[in-house]
């Protein structure tokens, strides 16, 4: 059982929930938890959320993107109050994870709130003093949709060996060279590690985004087994 101790607005539609989980066993970056909500009449429903924080004692951070017609995310983003209990289970998942003992270079590609588990990797890298070289390519619709914007800015400056690049798909910030556009082969080629370096690649975002990026990575010569993906949201019929 967890308890909400703090919430932070990351963007107009994304909130970070800081939870205290007394018996938390620790986690690897990339893992998720199952959150279970129960109404007074016993009705309950569950959803999975990626963990945003590096493993740190009993503190756990989730970042929740509000889906306006969703059943669970509006509750977590707007209703759940500091001090309220949250039933969760985890950590879950043993594939989409990065281990700080791995020394291979890492390419991270995030679409929208797909940044969350990748941010856990970036944070773990720093917390563990890893020297693994990280390149993060982050696609957002507009500058306002950029989750962890300030932290990424300071980490790109202070975390030695971490590069961060952005793609804006709908609206670019003022002074941005070029037009807003969807992420393409050139972005992955320029801002990710070359296949020759045999990097570990982690791709997370909406289904269509992940499909596109994974196909690009394969086309650029990356071995399929080095490309790990996590998808969310509907894919259409």
């Amino acid at each position: 059982m967890a308890r909400l101790v703090e919430r932070r607005a990351e963007t107009p539609s994304a909130q970070t929930l800081v939870l205290d989980v007394p018996d938390w066993p620790g986690h690897l970056p990339g893992q998720h938890v199952d959150v279970r909500l129960t109404a007074e009449d016993g009705y309950s429903t569950q959803r999975s959320y990626s963990i945003a924080s590096a493993s740190d004692g009993s503190r756990l951070e989730l970042t929740v993107q509000r889906v306006d017609d969703g059943e669970v995310s509006p509750y977590l983003a707007d209703v759940l109050a500091v001090g309220d209990p949250v039933e969760l289970r985890g950590p879950v998942g043993g594939w989409f994870v990065w281990r700080h003992t791995d020394t291979a270079p890492v390419t991270l590609v995030a679409g929208g709130s797909g940044i969350v588990p990748l941010m856990a990797m970036v944070r773990t890298r720093r917390a563990a003093g890893s020297k693994a070289l990280f390149r993060l390519l982050y696609s957002v619709r507009t500058p306002q949709d950029c989750i962890y914007a300030d932290e990424l800015r300071s980490r790109a400056r202070d975390d030695f060996g971490l590069d961060v690049a952005y793609v804006y798909s709908r609206q670019a910030p003022q002074g941005w060279p070029g037009e807003p556009r969807r992420l393409g082969v050139a972005d992955v080629n320029t801002h990710g590690w070359p296949a020759d370096f045999q990097p570990a690649c982690f791709v997370c975002g909406p289904t269509g985004f992940v499909e596109t990026v994974a196909d690009i990575l394969i086309a650029l010569g990356h071995e399929p087994r080095r490309v790990r993906t996590e998808r969310f949201g509907p894919s259409g019929p």
Partner: protein, 199 residues
């Protein structure tokens, strides 16, 4: 009953069909895959069964198409909590494919193009419970959903229905597959909510 979430009402409809515990209904067809989507042309496609004695049986795409197909309407339950009801698939029953395979093995390890694996008891592949499916809602199965052909074993969580299926290894001893080695349940019965190891 779990801990009540203050102020949570949830969304129920009186007409809600019965779902396995912890599942919610979706009209979409979400995708859950651990890596890139393999593209397997049907002229290079092959499906094999290798028995515990090492005997190998193989079907080309043309061989598969020549077998009697079945069209079934089934419910899908994904371990990530969504369920999709009344989906229609066309495929060849594993009863047909295994009919002349000499085996007494109890376990199966299913292999996919791309390296994915999943395990299940052989008895769960038989008696009209499993198919090598190649059409979804009357259309050729899209690569993102496992085309050209995937295993369909709808009474277990959907990760058992291996996409891009390429073969089945019959074994005397149970061998965990990809997700089963990463903390997911060995059997995965949605009605008993066997999501993770220890459930």
């Amino acid at each position: 009953m779990g801990i009540v979430s203050p102020g949570f009402h949830g969304r129920r409809s009186a007409a809600a069909p019965e779902l396995p515990p912890g599942q919610y209904l979706t009209e979409d067809f979400p995708v859950l895959t651990a890596g890139p989507t393999p593209r397997v042309p049907t002229d290079a496609w092959e499906f094999t069964v290798v028995t515990e004695a090492g005997q190998r049986y193989a079907w080309s795409w043309a061989d598969l198409m020549a077998l009697p197909g079945q069209t079934v309407t089934v419910d899908l339950h994904c371990v990530t909590k969504w369920s999709k009801l009344g989906t229609t698939w066309t495929g060849v029953s594993l009863d047909t494919l295994l009919e002349n395979v000499e085996t007494a093995a109890d376990y199966a390890l299913v292999h996919s193009y791309g390296g994915y694996t999943t395990n299940l008891p052989v008895e769960d592949l038989l008696d009209g419970q499993a198919w090598i499916a190649f059409k979804y809602e009357g259309e050729d199965l899209a690569p993102a959903h496992g085309g050209p052909a995937r295993l369909l074993v709808p009474h277990l969580y959907l990760w058992k229905s291996a996409k891009w299926v390429r073969g089945i290894q019959l074994l005397n001893e149970d061998e965990p597959g990809f997700w089963e080695s990463a903390g997911y349940h060995d059997y995965g019965d949605p009605w008993r909510e066997q999501r993770y190891q220890g459930d």
